[in-house]
Amino acid sequence: MEGLQLLLSGFAAALSLQNLLFAFAGCVLGTLIGVLPGLGPAAGTAILIPLTFHLDATGAIIMLAAIYYGAMYGGTITSVLINVPGEAASVVTCLDGYQMALQGRAGTALGIAAIGSFVGGIFAAVALAIVALPLARFALAFGPPEFFSLMFVGLCLVTGLAGQSLAAALLMTILGLLLSLVGIDPVRGAPRFTFGVPELYDGLGFVPVVMGLFGVAEILLIIETPFRRMGDIKIKGLWPSRDEWKRSSGAIGRGTVIGFLLGLIPGVGAVIPTFMAYIIEKRLSKHPERFGNGAIEGVASPETANNAYANGAMVPLLVLGVPSSPTIAILMGAFIINGLTPGPFLFQERPDLVWTVIASFFTGNVILLILNLPLVGVWAKLLKMPYQYLCAGTLLFCIMGAYSLKGTVFDVGVMLVFGVVGYFLRKLNMPLAPAVLALVLGPFMEKSLRTSLEMSAGDFSIFLTRPISATLMVFAALIIAVSAFQIAALKSIRTAESK
């Protein structure tokens, strides 16, 4: 009941003209970012953070969250119209979405994607509102050892699911953690790895680093291999037929549940829920041969899962302070820039902000639906923009964003350095997600670790003698063991196949 009251007060604030405008602007910018091939939600959110510097904390978070789920939907448009996913989570939508477009059903594909995204997003927001308060209250019992173990689990999950080599993923995590430690030591106040450079006393700026790793690196990759432009595909008839509704409704329901549940697990990322939703739909279908040839369920289920995931992933961030993907880590960075630390204490310290942000997920999803159904033709026209202008504009925004953070050219330099690093890491398929998550969690982890060790007079068993912490540590060990086993099994299967 208390949760409902808080949510209603959140709605009162979220429905103010100012916050509605922030949500609207975020949805427009997010969809724009998602529509432009190459620029995913992580790059887009990072690049647009500076736009929110002069907003109040609530407005800034509302706008950035809207950019995030706007970008998740925007990626669908390119998947359907030019068979190029705007972001990784839309890869699976290409399979049937583009086939539908070739059959003259692009409008229906985009229509069902918008409706599915709306349903998935709203359901996930309702579930978030229900579970947030009890979970936050439970997490209030956490002390430094439990928080350290929790963040350790988060990093293990992201690391364990990060790609073809567990060692490489762990290396990226450690690199991210080390980079996060540059600056003044938070416990003793001693400068570390600053080399007498005053700009480094505040640490490496999270925004310039992320802008470099995602924004600049992405543009360098686009410049190396420019993407295709849209041909002449006509968009008409957004509303699905009765038969198409019948086939899509179950897919939307299943996609919602899959997306939300997987969103709760740090490290899963948006790609796994969309693929899982697609595979389950195909398995359940009486005509699996239609999949890949323009089956509407093949668009409805992954797109619903995609948006349900995006909203579900807010649960670990808001309630526990653990980001579950690079984009969510960037959102966490935005919280920190605004002087806020996501987690259970935020529900006590700033309930007004938390519940307004949660309520804004509802308004944002409604805005997205309104924005995407009638205006889909406008978004499609953007696909005709030559990549040269996109690249120049994005780089301009990156320079402006990195500079405006602290008003120093040093941050622009940091961004360029990490742009080059990100370019090579992306070329090598090295996992970037663990590095970004570690970068944002590093200072919190170190503080929790050192405070825990001060509590126990340097005895590491404190992490294993407290029940919650011990459970989390065992869970972390299991995750790493299972991941190592999975990677080894996958390699042996591939080796057997190649023979």
Binding site: P50, F53, H54, Q164, S165, A167, A168, L170, L171, I174, L175, L177, L178, L181, D185, V187, R188, A190, R192, F193, L220, I223, E224, T225, P226, P386, Y387, Q388, Y389, C391, A392, G393, L395, L396, I399, M400, Y403, S404, G407, V409, V412, G413, L416, G419, V420, Y423, L425, K427, L428, N429, M430, L449, R450, L453, E454, A457, G458, L490, K491, R494
Partner: protein
């Protein structure tokens, strides 16, 4: 791809060795408990061990790198390098000539490097991306942008 991964592992090993050296100079432990060097030191040691382990795995072909080869398109890379050079020069000029003039040089340069040959478009984009953006973000939205040593 394997060579690229090996190079990355060596680069990481060197980075961790550097961090080990630097954190060793800081105190690892003091009377209150773990010192400022404690966390980075042990992280770097773990990182160095993992980098060596990854190198060994790569040497023994134990890492599944897939079939995708590491391809650098020569013309594409040339463009990317030219863009990067432009960005570095523009960044160096930011505090000297200010945002407007550095962007007035950078935007047309980027468009020309990327193959835009319509001079009218190049000029319009250059002015819009420098003076236009400065007006909107500095004058209207109050985003701090450098004016340059000449004050304009």
């Amino acid at each position: 791809m394997k060579r690229g991964w090996q190079a990355a592992a060596v680069a990481l090993l060197v980075t961790f060795a550097f961090f080990i050296f630097e954190s060793w100079q800081l105190s690892l432990r003091d009377t209150l408990g773990p010192g400022p060097g404690f966390f980075p030191f042990w992280l770097s040691v773990l990182g160095a061990v993992l980098a060596v382990f990854l190198l060994a795995q790569l040497h023994l072909n134990r890492v599944d790198l897939g079939t995708e080869a590491l391809v650098f398109d020569r013309a594409g890379v040339r463009n990317a390098v030219l863009v990067l050079v432009g960005l570095i020069v523009a960044t160096a000029l930011l505090d000297v000539v200010g945002f407007r003039f550095s962007m007035l040089l950078l935007i047309p340069y980027l468009l020309l490097v990327l193959g835009v040959r319509n001079w009218v478009t190049v000029v319009i984009c250059g002015v819009a991306g420098s003076f236009g953006v400065y007006y909107v973000f500095f004058d209207l939205l109050k985003v701090p942008l450098p004016a340059g040593i000449f004050g304009f």
